[in-house]
Structure formats: structure tokens, C-alpha cells
């Protein structure tokens, strides 16, 4: 049976502000999901609701048909790595690995130890004595070594240097290849993970803007560039997401599929996920 997390009509309000507004998403099967959005889009709120760290104002969340609140069976299928440290401050890294093994026998201690070596994480250190970067690394290692049906990473590379970020992405692919599972990665650093994610969910001000396979998302738009006049005449009647002018050249991101042949002097290119994301957000903001 495929793992399925169903977020149904979820609303979360904090006082007068609405973090999520009637959001419905279904995460299904062993895929790498990208939960994308600007700061404050509601990504972390959604993940905290999915793991019962927050309670929704309205709506329900189920894991394999079982409601999440107060349900060990549902919650045990998820492991969520966030920037929050939920381990006791005085706990040492080594002890945290032991505890992970105690609570989740499928936690691979050997993998954790080898990853700690790769990241040069000192297992004798207390969790609260780790730097911000190593605090993130510590939690990532547990996330990479635990074999729950769904592992969630919320802004996983926050505070990591370029070398460690690269290493994390490699290890993530390795984990997915060795133990296929549902991975949900929430980030606003889209360019770095655009090659990894199979399905994208874009949140914007607490609502779902897009929820489709990344391939489909990328094919939904294209970029055209050339002299301003030529581009302008080409764009007439088309759904333009964004346009930029640099010197005498204009680049536009256009929704839809390009015609087989473009007028001479214009260049066609695929949009990358980040550019498309920016275009979508800018279009929303201009409404």
C-alpha cells in the first residue's frame, strides 16, 4: 500500500493572521516532494500541523487514513527534521543516536556514525553546545539515518556551508536510492533542489498556488528573449508571467507551450524551477 498523507481543508490562524487558508494537499507514494514558497508562505506551519506539533484551527490531516492528533500509529510513520531542537539540551549527540535507535529500531546507527564522520560532527558534544550549522547537521544525520516511511526536512540546509549543503544533497539521493520513501523537502532555496524534486507544491500566503509534478510545472512555461520590439510583438495575446529588460534585450517568461517556430531573432529556452517560481509569485503579487 502506498503511503499517503492527506491534508484536508486545513486552516491555521494565529490570532488575527491566517497562516494557512483552507489548504488541501495529498502526498502520496515514494516520491521526493518539494514544498516551496517564500518566507511566511506557511510551509513550516503546514509541516508542524502534519506532525501534530501544532493543532489546526479547522480541517483534518490523515496519514494512511488515520487522523494525526494523538495517534502514535500515524505519527510514527513520519520523521520531521526542522530548525527546532526537540532534543534535551544536555543530551550528547551520541546519546541522541542511542535514543533514536531505542525509539525507532529501524534507525541505522552505523549510517549515523559514518555520516557524523563525513560531516565531522563530534558525537561527544552536547546538543546545545553545537553551532547553528552543526545543530542542523546533527538533526539532518538523524533524518538521513532513520528509515520511517516518510521523512520531512524543513529548510534542511539552513546554516550549512556550500560543501556541507552539497554533501547533504548527495546523501539525500543516496538515502532515497537505498531506502525508497516519501521525502518532503520544504525550502525557499529552490535552485539547489530543483533537480531533486519530483513533485512540487507551491504555497503563497497560506494557499496552494501549484500542486503538480515538477516536470509538468516546468513544461507549463518557457522563456523567450530577444530585441525589445520583437519580443513585445511576440508577446501580444500571450499569458506573460514576467518580463525583464537588460540593455536592448528583453526576456519574458510566458505561460503555455511555445509555437513550433519562433520569429527570427528570438531565442527560446526552458525556464528553470526557480525562475518559474519567481514568475508565478510576481504574477500573484501584481494581481
Amino acid at each position: 500500500m502506498k503511503m499517503q498523507i492527506e491534508v484536508h481543508d486545513i486552516t491555521k490562524r494565529f490570532g488575527k493572521s491566517t497562516a494557512l487558508d483552507h489548504v488541501s494537499i495529498t502526498f502520496s507514494g515514494n516520491k521526493i516532494y518539494g514544498l516551496l514558497g517564500n518566507n511566511g508562505a506557511g510551509k513550516s506551519t503546514l509541516l508542524n500541523l502534519m506532525t501534530d506539533r501544532l493543532r489546526p484551527t479547522e480541517g483534518t490531516i490523515t496519514v494512511d487514513g488515520q487522523p494525526v492528533p494523538n495517534n502514535d500509529a500515524a505519527l510514527s510513520k513520519l520523521f520531521c527534521v526542522t530548525d527546532q531542537n526537540l532534543f534535551p539540551d544536555d543530551m550528547k549527540v551520541r546519546k541522541a543516536f542511542e535514543v533514536a535507535k531505542l525509539f525507532h529500531p529501524e534507525f541505522d546507527r552505523n549510517v549515523a556514525d559514518s555520516l557524523a564522520q563525513k560531516f565531522e560532527l563530534n558525537e561527544k558534544k552536547k546538543v546545545n553546545a553545537l553551532s547553528t550549522g552543526y545543530g542542523s547537521i546533527f538533526r539532518l544525520i538523524i533524518g538521513l539515518s532513520i528509515n520511517t516511511p516518510c521523512v520531512i526536512f524543513d529548510e534542511p540546509v539552513l546554516g550549512l556551508d556550500a560543501r556541507h549543503r552539497d554533501l547533504f544533497y548527495q546523501l539525500l539521493i543516496q538515502k532515497y536510492a537505498d531506502h525508497p520513501c516519501m521525502l518532503i523537502i520544504s525550502t525557499h532555496l529552490i535552485e539547489e533542489i530543483s533537480n531533486l524534486i519530483e513533485h512540487s507544491v507551491i504555497l503563497y500566503h497560506g494557499t496552494v498556488l501549484k500542486d503538480c509534478p515538477t516536470e509538468e510545472l516546468m513544461a507549463a512555461a518557457y522563456s523567450v528573449s530577444g530585441p525589445i520590439q520583437l519580443v513585445d510583438s511576440y508577446l501580444s495575446g500571450k499569458h506573460v508571467l514576467t518580463q525583464k529588460v537588460l540593455g536592448g534585450l528583453k526576456t519574458a517568461c510566458v505561460h503555455g507551450k511555445p509555437a513550433n517556430r519562433l520569429p527570427a531573432g528570438l531565442e527560446l529556452a526552458n525556464v528553470n524551477l526557480q525562475d518559474y517560481f519567481i514568475s508565478l509569485i510576481e504574477e500573484e503579487e501584481s494581481k
Binding site: 508542524n48 506532525t51 501534530d52 506539533r53 501544532l54 493543532r55 492528533p69 494523538n70 495517534n71 502514535d72 505519527l75 510514527s76 510513520k77 513520519l78 520523521f79 520531521c80 526542522t82 530548525d83 527546532q84 531542537n85 526537540l86 532534543f87 534535551p88 539540551d89 535514543v99 533514536a100 531505542l102 525509539f103 525507532h104 529500531p105 529501524e106 546545545n128 553545537l130 547553528t132 545543530g135 520511517t148
Partner: protein, 239 residues
């Protein structure tokens, strides 16, 4: 698959380790008193164990509860599991505390010291200045009294831990002020209207009354704590 029993075992052993440190301190104090006072002629009494264990359980409830709920949340244990296994854990630790008290009482009763070791039960319901051996039934009552009072104190700790978790900083200051005010106000009311004397008579009439005095508010605090916990946003303590 994760295991609830593993989570409970972790909580219990963790609490026992902390209690181990406390009991070592108490044992050191007692050994010191035996050595220091063995040559003195004057007779005194020591009944610090009970009070110390109640404070220990209260602090344990405050400090450990959030840790367990956070850790439980990280590893997919629900709020319900984390909360109720913590409560069960405190009940067991309170039992260990009470049994240790009885053992300490028996040991100190046989020690060659001019200090009478009297626990709470003996101090309130028996003459603590008289050297006396408690009967088995009295030891049992004393142990039960210590157990229930220690457990109640841990529930108060749980209550404050969760209350101070859920309320904002502004209300935190108000809540602390309210608690201090409530204690002072109830204290002065007890004195002014001689309710304190009536209450004292009622408490000293039977150990069951003292147990009820602690247990009933603890039960109310426990229920309120559970309802509050359902609305807590589980966040980390540090980076």
C-alpha cells in the same frame, strides 16, 4: 516500529538517575549527621527527606515534562502518550522515593546517633522527639503519605510547566504574580479567620486528610494540564 514501552523506560531511567543524585546527597547529609552528632548529648531531629523529595518531584515535573513531550514529538509519540507516560513515570519515581524514605527511616532509626530521624508522618502524626520504631502498618502509612505527596508535587510541576509553556510572556508575568498573590492571600485569610487552625486540626486528625489535601488539587491540575497541552505549540528549547 517504535515502542511506547521504550519511551517510558527512557523517561523512568532518566528520572531515576536524577533521583540517584538526590538520594546520594541525602545519604551524605545523614552520614554527616551520624558522625558529627554521635558524640553530642543533646537530642535533635531531622525530617528533611520528605520535604526534599517533594521539592525534587515538583522540580522534576517542571523540568522533565517539556523535555519528554518535545522528545516524544520528535520521534512520533503523540502528546497523549508523552503526557500519560510522564505521569506514570512520576508515579513510579514517587514510589521509589517513598520506599527509599522508609529504608532511610529504618537505617537511621538503628544508627548510633543522638539525632532522631523522623519523616513527615512521624513529625505530624507521632512524636518526632521520641526515639521510636514505627510498626509495619505505620511504615506503610508513612510510605503511602510520602508517595502521594511526592506524586502530587510532580503533578503541580507538570501543571506549571505546561501553563508557562502555553501562555505568552506578558501573561507569564501576570500568572507568576497571581500565584504569589494567591499564596499570600490564602495564607493571610487562613490566619485571619482562623480557618488555618481548623485546617491544621483536620490535617493532623488523619494522614488520609493530608493525602486528600494534596491529591484533590493535583487531580484538578492534572486534568487542566492535559487540556492545556492539547493547545500547546510544541517548539524546541534552543537552537
Amino acid at each position: 516500529m517504535k515502542s511506547k514501552s521504550a519511551f517510558f523506560r527512557y523517561e523512568f531511567l532518566n528520572c531515576l538517575k536524577i533521583f540517584g543524585i538526590v538520594i546520594l546527597i541525602v545519604a551524605a547529609l545523614n552520614i554527616f549527621s551520624i558522625i558529627f552528632f554521635s558524640t553530642h548529648k543533646e537530642v535533635g531531629n531531622f525530617n528533611g527527606y520528605g520535604f526534599m523529595s517533594f521539592v525534587f518531584m515538583f522540580v522534576l515535573g517542571i523540568l522533565a515534562t517539556r523535555n519528554y513531550i518535545r522528545l516524544g514529538s520528535q520521534f512520533g509519540f503523540s502528546r497523549r502518550t508523552a503526557f500519560f507516560s510522564s505521569i506514570l513515570c512520576y508515579l513510579l519515581v514517587s514510589t521509589v522515593v517513598a520506599v527509599s524514605g522508609i529504608l532511610l527511616q529504618l537505617l537511621m532509626g538503628n544508627a548510633n546517633s543522638s539525632i532522631n530521624y523522623a519523616d513527615l508522618y512521624q513529625s505530624v502524626y507521632r512524636d518526632s522527639l521520641q526515639t521510636m520504631q514505627l510498626s509495619a502498618a505505620q511504615n506503610l502509612t508513612s510510605g503511602l503519605l510520602n508517595l502521594l505527596l511526592a506524586f502530587s508535587c510532580s503533578i503541580y510541576g507538570v501543571f506549571f510547566a505546561i501553563l508557562f509553556w502555553i501562555i505568552s510572556r506578558k501573561f507569564l508575568a501576570i500568572a507568576i504574580a497571581a500565584v504569589v498573590l494567591l499564596i499570600n492571600l490564602s495564607g493571610s485569610l487562613l490566619v485571619r479567620y482562623q480557618v488555618g487552625v481548623i485546617l491544621l486540626h483536620w490535617i493532623t486528625a488523619s494522614p488520609v486528610n493530608l493525602m486528600l489535601l494534596f491529591l484533590i488539587p493535583a487531580a484538578v491540575c492534572g486534568v487542566i494540564s492535559w487540556f492545556l497541552l492539547r493547545h500547546v505549540a510544541i517548539k524546541g528549547s534552543s537552537k
